[in-house]
Point group: C2
Chain length 379, copies 2
């Protein structure tokens, strides 16, 4: 069976690795060059994009920011999973907000701004602490601005005045004092079967995910249920097939959706060691019409991103329970180079293992690791 | 880092899949065509064998029956792991027996036969129930004969009279009434660090492994220790680096070595789901000079070979804890097409899961499954 993935980065790579044992051959599309590549070797295929589209049994995406013409071309094959609406909702914050509001799903209070002077109204409506996001092409902290005080408003308006807000509106959100970010990664098959991974707790630094811990500590049944209800509403409304990730802010007992990602997600990478079936295999199973795999947790697991750094000691592998996942990239500032998964029998053991790991990992590249390790070690 | 594997079958394939996350690129050598192939895609590289030998950081094997000239050519690079002596001991039963006897390791009583008439002496010495094995090129039940009664001796001698026993001697072994076959898969690093997987119990049918269960039920500390002592003696004597498998017959409290395999082994495939670090990753870690990974068992796991059959229902994947590993081959009688790993929280649960699996798997291709499932279900 042939699977084609739009996008040829680490997510396509990890799907390819998960595909071989199932007899699924995963090819990837470089959406800029519009050619077909092997996501493992990066060798360009002599197969044309059209040929690959014809030969594919199922087509999916590893990221949501696909050029519109390509997305429509692929959608016309009838093989795209998840649905084009799902992918577009993930790629466009205006569509995403409309989807959430339409389904009465709690999310951050917001205002859509299509004229720079509407920012004044946004301050009146939402307060002076705001996060301003471009509706499209936002990725890992790019295309986002913050307003901390009304005194910065004039300067910010000047800064944003060059943007074409009719073409790319802004989604202005109230900056919330949330306690933590949680995410739910789940998977839905074509016949509507759903399997959820447990909620993961995510730690960010400068707009990038650095550490995820799953299952998230201190999650009660009600919180779990709330997250799963949101997942169900979204997956059902979108006719979703595949892995879907929903990011939440937790405020007390309430979960507010931050954003959705219509694909396998960085906060689900822990599942490669921590769950019976990893998210990559489950995405492939879903889009190929195979039964879903068990999402049972094997052990509490932390996923630690390796960002902008490739010169750490391989002695990290001497620490029992640690697993390395490199993406085969050349190093660049802020670039995700790979991740480590670490499992242990309890949160306390996990914390201690992470403390041992931290000794080998430069703090400037792993700024969240030491404190999170210390926190878990006391649980 | 570049790894080159002699042999391009499923073992090279599973090493390649385990290598990518570690940043290890695994290429394979078709030892007959003498070209370099990608063990995943089977595409022939435009790289020559010589180039690949030069570029490799470490070279290893996926099977022991390597043409002697090639093995010596590779050994001359100084990059071959495990040692050439290890590989030759695995490929030649006369060398293997000499190794075991030289180290005082208990094994099946035997006689080397280089003249057909020595078979008469073998009967006198070992009894009339014998297994006769060609010293080389024996693989999965080929090149083996049985003597059940002295009345068959004349016919057997006639049958074997065409063999050149000076060139390929016979190893004649007493047929033992052993209770079961166990195997120990372990790994040794270049600095002498050793990690063992638990003993696996192996079930054969017509000379082929069909089911392995790990950890083997009913293994006490003394038995474990005995197996590990044998492993240590062999690994130390051979200056071994990489994964080594030792097959034992259990007779009461004693383990007799049946044979050794200087490579990753079918009876270690369970480790892909059942252990913290699988045998393929650990072999790569060892030959690349990386620290060994933990061999801790996650759950009792059964490995079920898929032999000579490719038309089973994919509904097997609906059974929680079952994982499919296909090798991408076209079907042929007696050919290993893939395997299933099944894990559960206890032996009893494992047995029940295997019973559920058996409903989807044709009994003629999975002759050991039902009985083994029933046995485990009562544990």
């Amino acid at each position: 069976m042939n699977i084609l993935i739009l996008g040829s980065g680490q997510l396509a790579r990890m799907m390819a690795l998960a595909g071989y044992p199932l007899g699924l051959h995963v090819a990837a599309v470089d959406v800029n060059a519009r050619n077909v590549v092997d996501p493992l070797t990066k060798l360009v295929s002599d197969k044309s994009l059209i040929q690959a589209l014809v030969e594919a049994d199922a087509i999916s995406v590893e990221f949501e920011h696909i050029p519109q013409d390509l997305l429509e071309q692929v959608n016309a094959t009838g093989k795209l999973k998840p649905s084009i609406e799902s992918i577009m909702a993930g790629a466009d914050r205006v569509k995403e907000k409309a989807l959430l509001s339409g389904l009465n799903i709690a999310n951050c209070p917001y205002k859509i701004v299509t004229d720079i002077n509407q920012l004044d109204e946004a301050v009146v409506q939402l307060g002076e602490k705001l996060i301003i996001k471009a509706s499209r092409d936002g990725y890992d902290g790019y295309g986002q601005w913050r307003l901390s005080s009304v005194t910065q408003l004039a300067e910010l308006k000047l800064q944003l005045s060059e943007l074409d807000l009719q073409k790319v509106p802004l989604v202005v959100e109230k900056m919330l004092c949330f306690e933590r970010e949680l995410s739910l990664v789940g998977v839905r098959s074509a016949n509507g079967e759903i399997a959820y991974y447990p909620l993961a707790e995510n730690l960010h630094h400068q707009g990038q995910l650095h550490v995820s811990v799953a299952p998230a500590p201190h999650v009660n049944e009600a919180l779990n249920q709330q997250a799963q209800d949101v997942f169900n509403k979204l997956a059902h409304a979108l006719g979703y097939v595949g892995v879907l990730a929903v990011e939440f802010f937790q405020m007390g007992d309430q979960l507010l959706v931050n954003e959705i990602a219509p694909r396998v997600h960085n906060s689900g990478h822990w599942s490669m060691q921590g769950a019976d079936t990893c998210q990559f295999e489950n995405h492939l199973r879903a889009i190929s019409g195979l039964p879903l795999g068990a999402t049972t947790v094997l052990k509490p697991t932390a996923m630690i991103n390796i960002i902008g750094c490739d010169d750490f000691s391989k002695d990290i592998l001497s620490i029992a329970g640690s697993h390395l996942h490199l993406y085969g990239k050349t190093v660049r500032a802020k670039r995700k180079m790979g991740h480590l998964n670490v499992s242990a029998d309890s949160y306390a053991e996990l914390g201690k293992t992470m403390q041992a790991l931290a000794q080998y990992l430069p703090a400037e590249h792993f700024p969240m690791l030491k404190d999170e390790a210390a926190r878990l070690a006391t649980l």
